[in-house]
């Protein structure tokens, strides 16, 4: 290049690497914060600790964290806390699995065939209007007060959000993709696997998040019914003897379940939906 005034300045200022941008005010939430997921819960814990330390939260109102920890240890070694935890966990896992499978299958049937929709969608909407918890007395009459009733209740209560959101996701799949698939001469099975399922996945995963919460709600309620094991059983006993700290241990465990389950679903969501370029980032 011939030497000009411009050339000279470029050579002189090369090492500084000026970065002058004209940026718009950011309206989206911006880039992801590391460990953001833990910040809220950690803050909550901090408030609890500080509140108990300063006496702002009286022990009668809410047991102090360290007393909860102590109580946890006592329950663990003297009252089979582990057994209670696994009993509750088993109910949630069985119920949630059943409910998820049923909700997903029903959503597929009713989303992909007009006949299926005619048969399935109405009853589900009716079922949705009746709170599952109101059905428990009926289930007790049908299935007794054993594990069967508990698992079925949890399954039913978690099936609804799976069904609603998966169905919604299915119906929201762009019709143009179906048209494309038709021009590519693919079979129904391939269409289902490569277009319908990935397209409905965001809806399904959203449904799963709701379902996890619903299952927890169901668990808390069914465990009040003559349980011999489980976190709910532990809490019911504590209520009778007025042991607040044990109740708080149960609450913390319930909270942990819900939080970890939601985190797991969100992780799956992030991995499975990495093709999406949304505000999620």
């Amino acid at each position: 290049m011939t030497s000009t005034a411009l050339d000279r300045t470029v050579v002189a200022e090369e090492p500084t690497r000026d970065d002058v941008r004209v940026l718009r005010r950011q309206l989206g939430p911006g880039p992801r914060i590391r460990f953001a997921f833990w910040i809220g819960p950690a803050l909550l814990l901090a408030i609890w600790v500080v509140g108990s330390l300063t006496g702002f939260i009286a022990p009668q109102v809410l047991t102090a964290p360290w007393d909860v920890v102590k109580e946890f240890g006592d329950q663990w070694s003297n009252h089979d806390l582990l057994g209670n935890i696994t009993a509750s966990l088993r109910r949630v896992v069985y119920g949630l699995t059943l409910g998820t499978a049923a909700g997903f299958a029903l959503a597929l049937l009713s989303g992909l065939s007009r006949l299926g929709e005619a048969v399935i969608d109405g009853p589900i909407q009716i079922k949705r209007a009746i709170p599952t918890l109101a059905l428990i007395p009926l289930f007790v009459a049908w299935f007794g007060i054993g594990e069967q009733m508990k698992i079925i209740t949890i399954a039913l209560i978690s099936m609804i959000p799976i069904y609603i959101n998966t169905h919604n996701g299915l119906r929201g799949i762009d019709g143009r993709y179906a048209e494309l698939a038709e021009t590519l001469d693919i079979g129904r099975g391939t269409f289902l696997r490569h277009v319908v399922l990935p397209g409905a996945l965001p809806g399904f995963l959203l449904g799963l998040r709701f379902a996890v919460t619903s299952a927890m709600l169901g668990l808390v309620v069914v465990e009040q019914y003559n349980s011999l094991s489980g976190i709910g059983h532990m809490m019911t006993l504590a209520q009778e003897y007025g042991q607040t700290s044990v109740i708080v241990v149960g609450l913390v465990l319930y909270g942990l379940y819900g939080f970890l389950a939601d985190a797991a679903v969100r992780l799956v969501e992030r991995k499975a939906l990495s093709w999406r370029r949304t505000l999620e980032g």
Binding site: R176, Y177, E179, L180, A181, E182, T183, L184, D185, I186, T190, H194, V195, P198, G199, L201, L273, S274, W275, R276, R277
Partner: protein, 259 residues
Amino acid sequence: MATDVGGLTATTTGVTVRNLHRSFNRSGGVLNGLDLDIAPGEFVALIGRSGSGKSTLLRALAGLDRDVQGYGRISVPEQVSVVFQDSRLLPWKRLLANVTFGLDGKDAAERGLRALTEVGLAGRESAWPAELSGGQQQRAALARSLVREPQLLLADEPFGALDALTRLQMHELLRKLCAVHRPAVLLVTHDVDEAIVLADRVILLDGGVVATDVRIDLAQRSQADPGFAGLRHQLLDALGATGEHLGSDFIAPGQRRVS
């Protein structure tokens, strides 16, 4: 790689359409007894005013007009590929999976890679569609339709959303690919210049039938050819783009209505 393809397409049939009627409501037909022949390997551009039924015809040939009323006879080759105005890549599949979607056979991936190379997207096979520019997405869509070795390629304004420079590059690419694969092509376009530059034949849809059918015999496929201006004028005339149809309310830019 393409030498045997020519022999393959030479034996196939082209497109035949007879007395095609299509209408969306009772008030009037969109296609009214349309006849059309496309020879194997022939490149036909379809022009016409907005709403004249170009997409309707294309969808009929693609077999996508199940729900549209009408009758008539259509015969198309076995292998038909469609390129839409939007690239229609599945957002949840990486590029190579999009291109080979619906292909079976062990060499599907290899063929897909070759097709991506042909359209200049070598090395991008594991990109998500959302990571590509509009022109790249459209090229991927082209690769997806060509990897199936179609005997008929239907394209509905495939370059409509692209900028002028990318369009020119896509023209070049499409012409090259068609010379190699030799499919019959029906390309819908709004752009008369694009039609003349690309096609062997330009047909104009008006009143639901082929109103004008012009063979393009230019020595060089560019605006530099002496015959280009004449053809362009003829087609624009047939489209009615000479001004009076714009209506009496139309005020040309930079002019004031005289009162």
